[in-house]
C-alpha cells in the first residue's frame, strides 16, 4: 500500500494514468466496436499488433529479444501463442524482476488487460500458438466436478496438492497455490505450461477435461469452499494438524492442568 501511495505522487503518475485511461478506452472500443465487417476486424487486429510491438519493445525485448527470438536472459516467444502472454503478463509473472529467483512468482499486474491483449496479439503474430480461451471454454457450465477431481488427482495434485494449495519443487522452485487464480489463467497454464510446469495440450487433455478440473478447483479451493469440520489449517495435511494439536490441543490442556494443580489463594495474614 505504501508503495502504491508513493507512486501516486510520482511526477509521471498523471501521464501513466492518462495513458492507461487511453489504452483502456481503446481496448473497450476494440471490444465493443461493431464487428460486422471483417475489414474493420483485420484493421483492429493489425493495430493491436502494432501497439503490442511497441509495448514489447519497451517492456519485454531486453530479455526476449527485439523480435521475440529469445536471448540468454529469456526464452524465445515464437510460437508460444497468445494464451501464454495472457497468462504470464496477466498474473504479473512477466515482466520478471531483474534479480531472478528460482522462478518468477505471481505478483502485481503491470499492464492493463487491453495492453496485455495487444502484447498477446503481437506475440501470436510471431508464430502460431494457443489462443486466449473464451468464457465458454473455462466456464462452469456443463462441467463434471467429480470427474474434474479425478483428473486433478491424476494430473495436478502431485505438484499443487489435493486442493491446489501448492507445493515444493526442486532447488527452491515451487508449484504455486491455485486459490484465487482466475479460471482463465488456470486454463492457459494447463494449455501452455508456463515456466517449469508441463503443458497439458488439448490433444492429451481435452477441453472438457480442463473445464472439469476448473470446476473442481472452484468447488474445493475458493472462498466459498465449505470446510465442514472447521478451520482448514492451510489444507496442508498432517503437518499443520500436528502443530495445531501440540500448540492448541496439548497447550490448552497443560494450561488447564496448571490451574488444576495450582494452590488456591491464601487468606491474607493480618
Amino acid at each position: 500500500m505504501k508503495k502504491l501511495s508513493a507512486r501516486r505522487r510520482h511526477p509521471l503518475a498523471a501521464v501513466v494514468v492518462l495513458l492507461l485511461a487511453l489504452a483502456a478506452t481503446g481496448g473497450l472500443y476494440a471490444a465493443f466496436a461493431p464487428a460486422s465487417k471483417a475489414q474493420a476486424d483485420e484493421t483492429a487486429q493489425s493495430l493491436a499488433i502494432e501497439e503490442g510491438k511497441k509495448l514489447f519493445a519497451v517492456g519485454c525485448a531486453s530479455c526476449h529479444g527485439t523480435g521475440g527470438q529469445g536471448t540468454s536472459d529469456g526464452p524465445s516467444l515464437v510460437g508460444v501463442g497468445a494464451a501464454a502472454v495472457d497468462f504470464q503478463v496477466g498474473t504479473g509473472r512477466m515482466p520478471a524482476a531483474t534479480s531472478q529467483g528460482a522462478q518468477a512468482p505471481r505478483k502485481r499486474v503491470q499492464y492493463s488487460q487491453a495492453e496485455i491483449d495487444q502484447l498477446a496479439a503481437y506475440v501470436a503474430s510471431l508464430g502460431a500458438g494457443p489462443a486466449i480461451p473464451t468464457k465458454e471454454q473455462y466456464g462452469a457450465e456443463g462441467a463434471d466436478i467429480a470427474k474434474g477431481g479425478e483428473l486433478f488427482r491424476t494430473n495436478c495434485a502431485q505438484c499443487h496438492n489435493f486442493t491446489g494449495k501448492g507445493g515444493a519443487l526442486t532447488r527452491g522452485k515451487f508449484a504455486p497455490t491455485l486459490e484465487g487464480v482466475d479460471p482463465k489463467h488456470i486454463y492457459e497454464a494447463m494449455q501452455t505450461g508456463p515456466q517449469n510446469m508441463p503443458s497439458f495440450p488439448d490433444t492429451t487433455m481435452s477441453e472438457q477435461n480442463k473445464k472439469d478440473i476448473i470446476a473442481y478447483l472452484h468447488a474445493v479451493d475458493s472462498s466459498e469452499t465449505e470446510n465442514p469440520g472447521g478451520l482448514e489449517l492451510g489444507g496442508l495435511g498432517p503437518v499443520t494438524e500436528g502443530l495445531f494439536a501440540w500448540i492448541f490441543g496439548l497447550g490448552a490442556l497443560i494450561a488447564v492442568a496448571v490451574w488444576v494443580a495450582a494452590r488456591t489463594a491464601k487468606a491474607k495474614k493480618s
Binding site: P238, L253, A261
Partner: protein, 545 residues
C-alpha cells in the same frame, strides 16, 4: 460368633442403602481392605504430574469415540460408486471403507464430530505421552523402583504410534494409501524375507483387497487390547509405588506429601477428565482434521504433494527423506540400504531412550529407591543427553516436513534436506554441550543464592562510598530445597594390585564404567553443592552486607 451375626443383622437393618450395598460387595469382593489402602491415598500436586492424566483421559476418549465409529465403518475394500451427499465425489469409484467414512462425515448426524474428536484425541494422546515421558526422563522419575513402569509407558507410546498409524490408514483415502504404500516399500527392503512379509501382510501384491480389514482388527482389537492391559498395569504400579515428589520442606524419600484421593483427587482427577474431553470436543468443533473428502479415494497411480504421516510418525518420515539412495547389488540380490537403514534406525531411536534408565543405573551403581525427583539442572549429563535425543527427534521431524519448510520459508528443498543430513549429527552434540553448560550455570546460581542470599534489587551505599546490592538470606525452607539434591562422586577403578600383590586385570567394562562415571559426576559435570561449613563461614564472616 452368634453375637457378631446378630450385630451384623441389626446394623444392616438400620444402615443406609449405600452402606448396605458396600457391605454386600465387601462380603463378596473384599472391597474394604482395598479401600483402606487406597481411598485416602496421598497424591502430590504439580501440573507436570497431570500430563499422564492427559494421556489416560484422551485414551478413554479415543476408545469411546472409536466404538461409536465402528458402528458405521465398513472395513472392506470392495469397490463401490459413491452416491452420498458430498457433490465433488459423486459417481466416483471408491472402496467401501472410504465410502463409509464419507457417510460418517456427511450423513451421520454428529458423525463428523465424533470422527474429529477421535483423531484430535489421538494426536493429543501421543503428544501427551511424549511430554509425559520427557517429564519422567528429565526429573529422573524412572529410577528404582520405577524402571518397569518406565518400560510399560514406553511400550504404550510405541504401540500408540502403531495404533495411530493403522487407524490413519483405515479410511483408504489418497493420503493414507500413500502412507501404506511407503510401508510396503519399507517392508520390501528387508533382506531375504521382505517380499514374503509384504505378500503375507497385503494378501498378495499391493494394494490387494485385504489390508483395510486386517489393519482394522489390529487397530480396534489387537493393539488397543494390549495397550489397555499395559495401561492398567501402569496405573497399578503408580498406586503401588506412590507418586514421586519434588524436594521441599517436609518432603523426604520416605514419605509422600499431598492431598488424599478422596475427596480432593477424586474431584480434581475426575474433573480433569471432563476438562480434557470438553477441550477436545471444542477443538473438534472449530478445527477440521483429516478431511478425507478433499483427498479423494486411494489410487496407486495418484498422489498429492505434502504427503506426510501424522506427527508421531513424522520422525520416521524424516529418516527416510534424508537418506542417500544407497543400493547394493550382489549375486543376483539387492540390498536396499536407502530404505533398510532408516527402517533399522527407526526402532533404535526409540530404544535409545527406553534403555537409558538401565544405563544410568549401571553407571551410578545406585541400588536404592528414589522417590524425590531431580531438578533437571542437578543432573546435567542426563539432561544434556535428553536434550540431545530430543534434538535428533525434532530434526527428523523437520526433515519429515522438508517440503513445507521449503515452500513456507522460501528455501530450496535440497538445502533443507542437506541441513537435516548434517544437523542430525551435529545438532545433538551441540545441544548436549550447550545444555550441560546451562545446567552448570544454574547450579552455580543456586549455590550463589544459598551462600549469599537472594538479590533484592535494593542498592545500598556504604559509608566509604561503595554501592552494594542488598542480599537477603534465604529461609530454611529455601535452603533445604536448594541443597536437598544428591551428588555422586565419580567412580574410580579400584586397586589394580590385590592384597597379595597379584596384579588384577582391569576389564574393559570396568574402565568404560569409570570413564562414564567421570563424565557424569566429574569436576566438569557438576558444581559441588554448598556445604554447611561454607555457609557458616560466609554468614558468620561478614554476616551483614
Amino acid at each position: 460368633m452368634s453375637t457378631t451375626t446378630s450385630t451384623d443383622s441389626r446394623s444392616r437393618g438400620k444402615a443406609p442403602a449405600g452402606e448396605r450395598l458396600a457391605d454386600w460387595a465387601d462380603g463378596r469382593l473384599g472391597i474394604y481392605s482395598l479401600a483402606k489402602a487406597n481411598m485416602r491415598k496421598i497424591f502430590p500436586d504439580h501440573w507436570s504430574f497431570m500430563l499422564g492424566e492427559v494421556c489416560l483421559y484422551s485414551f478413554i476418549i479415543i476408545i469411546l469415540t472409536g466404538v461409536y465409529l465402528t458402528l458405521f465403518f465398513h472395513p472392506s475394500m470392495n469397490e463401490v460408486e459413491y452416491h452420498g451427499s458430498y457433490v465433488p465425489l459423486q459417481g466416483q469409484l471408491m472402496s467401501e471403507a472410504f465410502n463409509s467414512t464419507l457417510h460418517i462425515s456427511f450423513d451421520v448426524r454428529g458423525g463428523l464430530l465424533i470422527r474429529q474428536i477421535h483423531h484430535w484425541a489421538a494426536l493429543i494422546f501421543l503428544a501427551g505421552m511424549f511430554v509425559h515421558m520427557m517429564r519422567v526422563f528429565f526429573t529422573g522419575a524412572f529410577r528404582k523402583p520405577r524402571e518397569v513402569n518406565w518400560l510399560f509407558g514406553f511400550l504404550l507410546f510405541v504401540l500408540g504410534m502403531f495404533t495411530g498409524f493403522t487407524g490413519y490408514s483405515l479410511p483408504d483415502d489418497l493420503l493414507s494409501g500413500t502412507g501404506v504404500r511407503f510401508m510396503e516399500g519399507a517392508i520390501l527392503s528387508v533382506p531375504i524375507v521382505g517380499t514374503y512379509l509384504s505378500f503375507f501382510l497385503f494378501g498378495g501384491e499391493f494394494p490387494g483387497g485385504d489390508f483395510v480389514a486386517r489393519f482394522y482388527s489390529i487397530h480396534i482389537l489387537l493393539l488397543p487390547g494390549i495397550m489397555l492391559g499395559l495401561l492398567v498395569a501402569h496405573l497399578i504400579l503408580v498406586f503401588y509405588h506412590k507418586h514421586t515428589q519434588f524436594a521441599g520442606p517436609g518432603k523426604s524419600n520416605k514419605n509422600v506429601v499431598g492431598m488424599p484421593l478422596l475427596p480432593v483427587y477424586m474431584a480434581k482427577a475426575g474433573g480433569f477428565f471432563f476438562l480434557v474431553f470438553g477441550a477436545i470436543a471444542v477443538i473438534a468443533a472449530v478445527a477440521q482434521i483429516n478431511p478425507i473428502w478433499a483427498m479423494g479415494p486411494y489410487r496407486p497411480d495418484q498422489v498429492s504433494t505434502g504427503a506426510q504421516p501424522d506427527w508421531y510418525m513424522g520422525f520416521s518420515e524424516g529418516l527416510i527423506r534424508f537418506m542417500p539412495g544407497w543400493e547394493v547389488n550382489f549375486w543376483g540380490h539387492t540390498l536396499v540400504l536407502g530404505v533398510f537403514i532408516p527402517l533399522v534406525i527407526f526402532p533404535l531411536v526409540l530404544v535409545a531412550i527406553a534403555v537409558y534408565p538401565f544405563i544410568e543405573a549401571w553407571v551410578t551403581g545406585d541400588k536404592r529407591e528414589h522417590h524425590i525427583l531431580d531438578r533437571p539442572r542437578n543432573a546435567p549429563t542426563r539432561t544434556g543427553l535428553g536434550v540431545a535425543w530430543m534434538t535428533v527427534y525434532l530434526t527428523l521431524l523437520i526433515g519429515g516436513g522438508n517440503d513445507l519448510w521449503a515452500t513456507h520459508f522460501h528455501l530450496s528443498i535440497n538445502a533443507v534436506t542437506w541441513f537435516v543430513r548434517i544437523f542430525v549429527f551435529v545438532g545433538p552434540v551441540l545441544a548436549f554441550l550447550i545444555t550441560k553448560r546451562i545446567c552448570l550455570g544454574l547450579q552455580r546460581r543456586d549455590k550463589e543464592k544459598v551462600l549469599h542470599g537472594r538479590e533484592t534489587g535494593t542498592i545500598k551505599r556504604l559509608p566509604h562510598g561503595e554501592f552494594i546490592e542488598v542480599h537477603e538470606p534465604l529461609s530454611q525452607e529455601q535452603l533445604h530445597t536448594l541443597t536437598a539434591h544428591e551428588q555422586y562422586q565419580p567412580l574410580e577403578i579400584g586397586p589394580t594390585v590385590d592384597d597379595n600383590g597379584v596384579e588384577r586385570k582391569v576389564k574393559g567394562a570396568e574402565k568404560l564404567r569409570a570413564k562414564l562415571s567421570d563424565a557424569y559426576f566429574g569436576e566438569e559435570s557438576q558444581i559441588p553443592k554448598p556445604t554447611v561449613e561454607e555457609y557458616k563461614e560466609i554468614t558468620s564472616g561478614h554476616g551483614h552486607h
